[in-house]
């Protein structure tokens, strides 16, 4: 299997076999990990996924290479971004899918599909390029999707949580945590923070306890 990842510059993991799900698996859940370009979305998906992150789009190579390239319009090899995803089997019936989604405005067309029915989102930020995450946060607030913000540690000057929270104009209830997307434990903790945040929201809205049938 030779899947491309949307974030270049990563050492691709070994092409591993993909384990099939339990035959009893019957409920797929979604969590979206978003943020600016190069903020570590794929890294985080990779560090907690039980499968090598897959991409809905592969690196495109020559399509039936033209023998004659008289017009100089030969097809060029390039990678384009859709989204990559990983998987966590929660138990025999429930599977959690993690989607690394580009947070940039030009990928807005992906969002409706990705965010419909998602449990919640993780916004990864890099304090050196904090404004890269603005669009993602605006979009999530607009959709009403619960999210947490995770500051991926890239080194650089350390800002207080309050400073970051203020800079991002985060609402009071939105958790902000530090993480290292390369670390399985750290990424796991971010996801746990998100689920706990969802539980808090759920508890605050007792009416919302109804489970919706498909």
């Amino acid at each position: 299997m030779d899947y491309a990842t949307s974030d270049p510059g990563l050492v691709p993991g070994p092409p591993g076999p993909r384990a099939p799900l339990d035959a009893s698996a019957d409920n797929g859940l979604k969590i979206v990990i978003t943020g600016g370009f190069g903020v570590g979305k794929t890294t985080m998906v990779r560090s907690v996924s039980e499968i090598r992150p897959l991409n809905t789009e592969e690196t495109m190579t020559q399509a039936g290479a033209a023998v004659d390239d008289l017009a100089g319009v030969g097809t060029k090899s390039s990678t384009t971004v859709a989204f990559d995803f990983g998987r966590i089997s929660v138990n025999a019936r429930t599977v959690l899918y993690l989607f690394g989604a580009p947070g940039q405005e030009r990928f807005w067309f992906l969002w409706d599909r990705l965010f419909s029915g998602t449990l919640g989102a993780v916004v990864l930020v890099d304090t050196r390029r904090l404004d890269d995450s603005w669009y993602a946060i605006d979009r999530l607030e607009h959709h009403g999707t619960p999210f947490v913000v995770a500051r991926n540690d890239f080194g650089g000057p350390k800002h207080s949580e309050e400073q970051v929270r203020d800079a991002l104009s985060l609402a009071d209830g939105v958790p902000l945590v530090d993480c290292d997307a390369r670390s399985r434990q750290s990424s796991k903790d971010v996801l746990i923070t998100l689920v706990q945040h969802l539980q808090t929201l759920s508890a605050a809205h007792p009416r919302a306890r109804e489970m919706t049938a498909p």
Binding site: D7, V11, F37, A66, D68, L168
Partner: protein, 515 residues
């Protein structure tokens, strides 16, 4: 235009056309032959008369006889001379006639043939060994010159056509690759729909360019680096015709066509499928069957349109058989079959036509075994391949180096210095990016109050819908959801018995212009 101005040739070339030597045969031997017979008869008679005559009469008899013989000899000689001259003239005439015929029937056509085959006029003229008269020589030079220049004009025109076709092929191939990328990138169903429409149009344009390339003798535009499975061959062919949605494939074949022949096979099949689709009612299906035989694979393209008559069948067969024929006399209507013929010749395909069991016509293509191969396992999974490997042990945290993701230069450029807060961090204003992007104003922004992703972003969706419906009507010329319009040609059923080619000529469909 004279030979000299058109193509300056070395004078020696002209001098080398040998002149015919004049016939100068002495008539003496002929005269002797002519005189021999009368003399052999008259001299003994004269001698006998002289001997038999009475003595007194002997002298006058002898004189008379001598005079008679002399007169006879003179008369015979004169007559013989005349006859000899007549014969000689007749002989000359015959020789001239034969020579003129040889000139007209052999020498001239041979010279023209050699020029059209690509030899230079010079070479051909100097190679003439036969003796020629002055007029013949001039005639040959003139004709050779004219043929030569028309031949170079034709070759130049073909080269221009081949070159342009090659460029169009490269463009179409590039566009198809771009479209495929976009089809993967854009997950919006409306956008995907439009992209597929453009893809189909481009594939048809590419086929037209391929046809022109084949007819002008250009190199094939596309080559496949690997064998192409039969299913892909059939779909690759049907994707290039307007009426692909009417084509039904029936194949369990597991073979693949070798890479170097795959493009030609697909192109030829596309022409046969297009032919079938165009000559059956607009809603009728075209059925394609694949059958393995010891000699190779047989692909049958069957329509339920008009049954081709004897004449039409023969005509189709000869159009396909022509193979290397030139473009003269190629009416636009029979382009497709001529292309099929060229491709068949190039790849060793056998094409035939026969009445179809479905009531229409069946075109049969036989792909010889040399062009077939069995796909390598792993190239494509067969129906029994196991796609999933045994479960893996969940990976431990991979030790990936620090997030070394390189920023997209594009993003970099768009990264304008934002307003900084007291902390030195840029300060976000809620909804700012949405309004800047022109999707939704901040007024639409009601955090957590509109949690339904489905209903969120109505303004966006409406805008998008409006934009794409405009786009769609621009490209389709019809209502947004309508599929590509069917070729607008008269139903062949309305003209029963009409010759297929002629029918097409009278009702050209906008999408089947390759015929």
């Amino acid at each position: 235009m004279t030979a000299q101005t058109a193509l300056p040739r070395p004078r020696t070339g002209r001098l080398r056309i040998p002149a015919r030597p004049r016939e100068q045969r002495a008539p003496l031997a002929y005269l002797a032959r002519a005189l021999a017979a009368p003399l052999v008869v008259t001299i003994p008679v004269a001698v006998w008369l002289i001997v038999a005559a009475p003595g007194s009469l002997r002298a006058p008899a002898a004189a008379g006889a001598a005079a008679g013989i002399l007169a006879l000899v003179v008369a015979v000689a004169v007559a013989a001379q005349e006859r000899w001259r007549a014969r000689r003239l007749a002989g000359q005439l015959d020789a001239l006639r034969a020579e003129a015929e040889r000139f007209a029937d052999e020498l001239l056509p041979a010279a023209v043939r050699r020029i059209t085959a690509g030899e230079t006029v010079d070479r051909v003229l100097t190679a003439v060994r036969e003796p020629l008269t002055g007029p013949q020589r001039r005639m040959l030079a003139l004709i050779a010159d004219r043929v030569g220049s028309s031949e170079s004009r034709r070759a130049a025109a073909m080269a221009v056509g081949a070159n342009a076709a090659g460029r169009m092929q490269a463009l179409a191939t590039g566009m198809l690759a771009d479209l495929r990328q976009m089809e993967h990138r854009h997950t919006d169903p409306a956008v995907l729909h439009d992209l597929l429409h453009l893809d189909h149009r481009t594939a048809q344009a590419g086929r037209l360019a391929d046809s022109i390339a084949v007819l002008t003798g250009a190199r094939s535009g596309r080559r496949w680096a690997k064998p192409i499975r039969m299913e892909s061959i059939l779909r690759g062919a049907m994707g290039r015709i307007a009426g692909y949605q009417r084509v039904r494939l029936h194949s369990t074949s597991e073979v693949a066509v070798v890479g170097h022949a795959a493009e030609g096979v697909m192109h030829a099949l596309a022409e046969l499928m297009d032919n079938a689709a165009n000559f059956s009612p607009p809603t009728a299906e075209v059925h394609v069957y694949v059958e393995e035989v010891p000699a190779g694979s047989v692909i049958t393209v069957e329509d339920s349109g008009l049954v081709m008559g004897e004449v039409a069948l023969r005509r189709a067969q000869s159009a396909v058989a022509a193979g290397s024929g030139d473009l003269t006399g190629l009416s636009g209507t029979r382009l497709g079959l001529t292309v099929v013929g060229r491709l068949a010749l190039k790849h060793g395909l056998t094409i035939s036509f026969r009445p179809s069991a479905r009531g229409g016509t069946g075109a049969v293509m036989m792909i010889p075994q040399e062009l077939l191969t069995v796909p390598r396992p792993g190239m494509d999974a067969g129906p029994d391949a196991e796609p999933l490997l045994p479960p893996e042990v969940p990976a431990t945290a991979p030790s990936v180096p620090a997030p070394a993701e390189t920023p997209d230069p594009d993003e970099e450029a768009r990264h304008t210095a934002p307003e900084l807060g007291e902390s030195g961090l840029p300060k976000r204003r809620r909804g700012q990016t949405l309004s800047a992007a022109g999707h939704d104003g901040p007024g639409h922004d009601r955090p957590a109050a509109r949690p339904s992703a489905g209903s969120a972003g109505h303004g966006t969706a409406a805008e998008r819908a409006a934009r794409f419906s405009t786009f769609r009507s621009a490209v389709h010329g019809t209502t947004p959801a309508a599929p590509a319009p069917a070729p607008d040609h008269e139903s062949p059923a309305s003209a029963p018995g009409a010759d297929r080619d002629e029918h097409n000529a009278t009702a050209p469909s906008p999408e089947s212009d390759a015929r």
